[in-house]
């Protein structure tokens, strides 16, 4: 089972009377970059919060690295980036990163190294002593990403990591994600509704109305639906109702 990082079996979730996640099963192989693709409100964030153990599924079970969710050890192994930037805006960037480094129990030397590494990766080294309230939207996103990487987790779960980031930086972040996957064998689960990002994933799962409507490599999906690009795949897979 070591080659499967995340297993969702018949997971179901409803808020009040609204079914957000229909019974859904999914396996995420270790060491791959998986894209969770879908329009806003299709249940991506709900699914991710359930994998993190922040929401309890009504039915079904979730396993991550052979642990049953929720499990405390898992929180150490998962780097999480929420959709909204959960940052302390009256602290500086460095203070924010250091807080989380300490919460993950990193030693002092580890902390210095990891903070430097993570800040450098997202090009924030020069702005670390600035208060977060003075950051631009993109800078906050980058800081959140740096925090997700801080404890060097095996699994990265990133909820729309590149929203509000300019194309140059977006490209760099994706290069880094791919490098993390290739060289450090990390498993990465990314949600996005940007179709150009979908192309770069190893595997895609298309989510709509709480159901997975298509699954496979980007190439497979394109061939299967006879489409030129992902906008088309998406439209064809989901029918014409948007």
């Amino acid at each position: 089972m070591e080659d499967i990082a995340i297993t969702l079996s018949a997971v179901e979730k409803r808020f009040k009377h609204k079914q957000v996640i229909a019974p859904l099963s999914l396996e995420v192989p270790t060491g791959q970059l998986i894209g969770l693709l879908g329009p806003s409100g299709c249940g991506k964030t709900t699914l991710i919060k359930m994998i993190m153990g922040m929401l309890k599924p009504d039915q079904g079970s979730i396993h991550v690295f052979n642990y049953t969710v929720p499990h405390k050890q898992l929180l150490m192994d998962i780097g999480y980036m929420a959709q909204s930037d959960a940052l302390y805006t009256d602290l500086t960037g460095a203070e924010n990163i250091n807080l989380f480094a300490k919460l993950y129990g990193l030693s002092k030397t580890e902390r210095i190294n990891r903070v430097q590494y993570a800040a450098n990766l997202v090009h924030l080294t020069g702005d670390l002593n600035e208060k977060v309230m003075n950051y631009s939207g993109g800078m906050k996103r980058r800081l959140s990403l740096a925090i997700a990487l801080i404890q060097n987790p095996k699994l990265l779960i990133l909820d729309e990591p590149t929203v509000g980031i300019d194309p140059v930086l977006k490209k760099e972040i994706w290069q880094e994600l791919i490098r993390l996957k290739d060289q450090e064998h990390k498993t990465i689960l990314v949600t996005t509704h940007a179709m150009d990002e979908a192309e770069r994933c190893d595997q895609l799962a298309m989510l709509r109305g709480g159901q997975i409507i298509a699954q496979g490599t980007p190439q497979e999906l394109k061939t299967c639906y006879g489409a030129k690009d992902f906008d088309e795949v998406f439209l064809k897979a989901g029918g014409d109702i948007i």
């Binding site: 922040m54 929420a82 959960a86």
Partner: protein, 338 residues
């Protein structure tokens, strides 16, 4: 037209915020009726112990509505223990009046009624001496309720600051982010209690020292007991504020707890005499932390109580804090079931 657009928007928002509406229309009624009952409470009978009085005198005293208790061999200690309002001891040609003076207004009422009763004859021929168990003739109303004011302000500010701070953490998503790390729920609550607790302690020290040394509020007991009591008050308030913040969706809704939680506590903190209240009203007071805090503080600062005298009150305050802290830890389950 633009004005109408704004008005419509406000109407729509208000209609959806049922809690604000309820507060706007119902809370004033609740507080008004509470005040109505508190101020309309019948003035309780003044109790006066009389030693060596003749029946003529007793009749006169009863005529002005004193509840007269005849007791020979009475002492100041008995007066303190039984909390009668006053003790009139008749020597050969001298009245010795001892007033409990736990509330200056009661003491004044006793003196007034007594002079009413004595009016035509005795007062002129007999010598009259007055002594006080607590305070003296210069005791002002402020002296007896300033201890309550001190703990009220400690409670109020700590409640608001901790409540709003934790609320901000909830609304900005940082609390959720914290819970995505391997931190334990009790560690978050402990961090909060200690972090804000330190500031609450500094605030408490400043208020107490200022009140006692600059404003010269009467304090006969130990200042350390005053500080200890107020720190417990701060802890209760800190944990209650943090807890209630989970029932508020905005700073605005947090403010709504002021009339619901803070104001009623002020009513029962002894600023208005509790003895006069009807039983059910007194029982409401007993669920308020401030009731015990004010009782302890008033005991220490005005009556010179020692630790053992207020231990029960302190114990109850500590239990309040403990319950609120536990509920805080449980309420974080909303974000993470672990």
């Amino acid at each position: 037209m633009r004005v109408v657009a704004l008005i419509t928007r406000i109407m729509q928002q208000m209609r959806r915020d049922k809690r604000t509406l309820a507060l706007l229309f119902i809370a004033p009624l609740v507080i008004l009726s509470l005040m109505y009952f508190i101020f309309n409470s019948d003035e309780s009978e003044l109790s006066l112990v009389v030693s060596n009085g003749n029946s003529q005198l007793i009749d006169k005293l009863q005529a002005v509505d004193f509840h007269v208790i005849e007791k020979e061999n009475f002492s100041k200690e008995d007066l303190m223990a039984n909390e009668y309002d006053g003790w009139l001891d008749i020597q050969q040609n001298q009245f010795e009046l001892t007033l409990l003076n736990d509330s200056p207004s009661t003491a004044k009422a006793v003196k007034m009624k007594l002079s009413q009763a004595m009016q035509p004859d005795n007062a002129t021929t007999m010598k009259f001496s007055t002594s006080y168990v607590y305070g003296d003739e210069n005791t002002a109303l402020f002296d007896t309720f300033s201890p309550m004011l001190i703990c009220f302000f400690v409670f109020f500010f700590v409640f608001l600051i901790s409540g709003i701070a934790l609320l901000k953490e909830r609304t900005s998503g940082t609390l959720e982010r914290l819970l995505a790390t391997p931190i334990k729920r009790y560690e978050i609550v402990a961090g909060y209690m200690i972090g804000y607790g330190l500031f609450a302690i500094i605030q408490t020290i400043i208020i107490v020292v200022f009140g006692i040394y600059v404003l010269d509020i009467v304090h006969v007991g130990s200042i350390w007991l005053v500080l200890l009591t107020n720190m417990l008050v701060a802890l209760v308030s800190l944990s209650l504020g943090a807890l209630l913040s989970s029932f508020a969706a905005s700073e605005f809704q947090m403010m709504q707890f002021i009339p619901l939680v803070i104001v009623p506590q002020a009513f029962f903190s002894g600023i208005f005499p509790l003895d006069n209240m009807v039983d059910w009203l007194q029982n409401i007071g007993r669920i308020m932390p401030m009731f015990y805090a004010a009782d302890a503080l008033n005991g220490v600062m005005y009556k010179g109580y020692t630790f053992s005298d207020i231990a029960t009150n302190l114990g109850i305050l500590a239990s309040f804090a403990l319950v609120f802290i536990t509920l805080n830890i449980i309420s974080l389950k909303k974000y993470r079931s672990l």
